[in-house]
Symmetry: C2
Subunit: 432 residues, 2 copies
């Protein structure tokens, strides 16, 4: 019966899209995952490996021998092999490389040379080129002879003898043009194009703004190198969004949901360590004021309020600014405007919430002065949060770093230590 | 000279894509923004309004009179007007509605009836339909007569007399097919399609997985209603990612970078208030132990470490789980596995980091028992964080709520109050 089930399962898998198989594998615990992986048709191995997440891919690759890996890689295009390359053992890559035809070897070498966040890394080589001086009718005949067009072909690329890109011929345009017209007459010259070293992030903005399906990639001399498709852009967007969500929470890399515990611990330890250091610092700030707390123990109960609300408010500011930077809305002129606006918000919030916590404090401890100190500390910590919340991402950007990375941990560190210092300092000055 | 400059500026604006104009407007402070907005050609007003963010759109609409608004809306398609509708005054909508031809009125009514996160809200009506029994050659002639195809047309929709969708004819297929073949012979029957009430989120997954450019939307009876394009999907993804980033930070809605201070305050107050309530609760938990703190003031300095590291670790867990839920990787079977894995990670982290803070505590306060209590409290709070970090998003999902919304605030509330209670409680039991 077991065997019968497996053979049914195998048949069901054969009918699935590689992306669906990948999805199933990701949702399975390791044992079950490897059983299913063994049932997947060898012809689909390459595509499935491309589709799964990095963490899951590693578990699958560990389960395959060199021969299987070479066979899987050989089913893929050069740009796809380049995506897998970092996860493949070097002897497998060597074999794959040797087995490729000359042209694809060059493409693979090129694709592997670009950094992960460059347009080159999103590029594929499935371009159809035509000459500008032929007639539309000839192009239509040529396409029919090809028998099949690459996925996402929404335009043909018009090049001259030296492969210089001269324009693009949209299929939509091709279909409605007079068959007697030449390509040159109907092609669009003014088109969005990228260099392979352009930032992938910029390409995604262009795809979003101009609603592109594909766009050509050219060398600095204007030679057509390949194209970027909207699905590569979507995958990049998704990965980037995941990366941001993870790095805000302090996860170093993508984590297989069913990873062994020690792997998860390794993935999470770096940020926990940073967090521990900032917590130690905050703790020592409090340590400075142990005398004051001994005299007025209410301070210990109240201080987390000042720190917590400051941290929340600082996170609001930093999220706004990081997003504005990502959208390219922040420039030299606007920095001062932004700081003064956030300071303004901080003042209003400080007065409103400061009054609330001041009254709360008075209601509980029946100590007017303590209430006033609490209110003033709230106000000052909210101002600190506003100021640093604008400054952290802008400074990181100035030094070419990712403005989002760890921003939440940083702002919380400042508003914690700062909040404790402000509140306990004021209390020591005015109450004791 | 001022006038000369403005006229130069106007000419420069005329050459820009509406999306680029929108981008410029978003990056400008209100005053400058309205000056530029006045210079934009009336024919582009509608497109620009579509492209800007909700917050900026409001500032632009407030600057226009009814006539201008009606004129701007009338340049748009029904599905685009539906996108603007929530921001337009009702008398303007009334006028726009009256001015539309019958068919588009119906489309507008339909488009406005879908909820914001349904496929219907992403749908447009720019479909080209053909009959299954005509020959490819006839289709090619038909397209040429149309003179222009809608953006993103990568396939034609094959329908029968009653508008039932029978299949799709990819342009890529059309171009390589024998002109004598019939549409029926070359069309694909087995295609991804959506109902207008399907979740938009699911449609984005399908576009990602199957690398779609467009997909048909059909009624429950199989009638073709419209299509979804990849650019609508990308916009939706971007908006959703923004929404998540904002709601994690506690911003209620999209905020114009240069919004007046009182608007920003209003946008941020709700989450600050929630945060204040949780901070008050944590404060009262500490208040319970004021006697203990009075006797051993080191407790006040140490307690934020327990709470802070617990919060960080809980955020790591919750981020993992929220992402796994979004990707559909979590089911009944895996819940127990996930909890036990996160508990395992919590135990390892608790032992490692608990030892570190225990030693740190001993080094500073020369109090062995205090160090042990600190280590134990760390371990227990990390376990609490793991348990609640899995439970919060799973519970929210069970009740049909967004698992991500406010998850960070919630887990921090639990690990703060819980951490204080565990640490101060243990200290009271064992040290005093």
């Amino acid at each position: 019966i077991q065997k019968q089930n497996l053979s049914n399962l195998r048949q069901a898998l054969d009918k699935l899209h590689p992306a669906d198989i990948a999805h199933i594998l990701e949702a399975l615990p390791l044992e079950d995952r490897l059983i299913i992986w063994g049932l997947v048709k060898a012809e689909q191995d390459g595509e499935v490996l491309l589709e799964v997440s990095d963490a899951v891919r590693q578990t699958l690759i560990e389960d395959m021998d060199s021969e299987e890996l070479v066979a899987a890689a050989e089913q893929l295009d050069a740009d796809e092999i380049a995506d897998l390359a970092p996860d493949l053992p070097s002897d497998v890559m060597e074999d794959v490389f040797q087995a490729l035809p000359m042209e694809e070897r060059e493409q693979l070498r090129a694709a592997m040379s670009y950094s992960e966040d460059a347009v080159g890394a999103l590029m594929d080589f499935d371009v159809i080129t035509v000459r500008g001086d032929v007639r539309i009718e000839v192009v239509l005949r040529y396409l029919r002879r090809l028998g099949e067009l690459p996925d996402h072909t929404d335009q043909l690329f018009v090049v001259d003898r030296t492969e210089q890109l001269q324009g693009v011929l949209l299929l939509n345009q091709l279909l409605v043009s007079d068959p007697e017209a030449t390509v040159m007459e109907v092609m669009a010259r003014d088109t969005v194009k990228f260099l392979p070293d352009d930032k992938a992030e910029q390409a995604t903005h262009a795809f979003e703004r101009y609603d592109l399906v594909t766009a050509p990639v050219i060398s600095s001399e204007g030679k057509l190198l390949g194209r970027v498709t909207v699905n590569a852009v979507i995958d990049f967007m998704r990965e980037k969004a995941d990366l941001e969500a993870r790095s805000q929470a302090g996860l170093s890399e993508e984590e297989d949901l069913f990873a062994p515990i020690w792997k998860s611990v390794r993935n999470r330890w770096a940020w926990l360590a940073i967090n521990l250091v900032t917590a130690f610092i905050a703790s020592r700030v409090i340590g400075l004021f142990e005398n004051s707390i001994e005299k007025l123990v209410a301070l210990a109960a109240l201080m987390p309020i000042v720190a917590g609300v400051g941290g929340n408010s600082g996170n609001q500011t930093i999220t706004m600014i990081v997003r504005a930077i990502a959208l390219g809305q922040v420039n030299q002129d606007s920095t001062l405007k932004l700081i003064s606006k956030e300071i303004g918000v901080g003042i209003v919030n400080g007065i409103v919430w400061g009054s609330v916590v001041g009254l709360f404090t008075y209601a509980i401890y029946r100590n007017m002065q303590l209430g006033l100190v609490m209110a003033l500390a709230m106000l000052l910590n909210l101002l600190l949060a506003a100021f640093v919340g604008v400054l952290i991402p802008l400074t990181r950007k100035k030094f070419g770093r990712d403005p989002a990375l760890g921003s939440s941990v940083l702002i919380t560190a400042v508003t914690d230590s700062g909040g404790f210092f402000i509140f306990l300092g004021l209390a020591t000055l005015f109450l004791l």
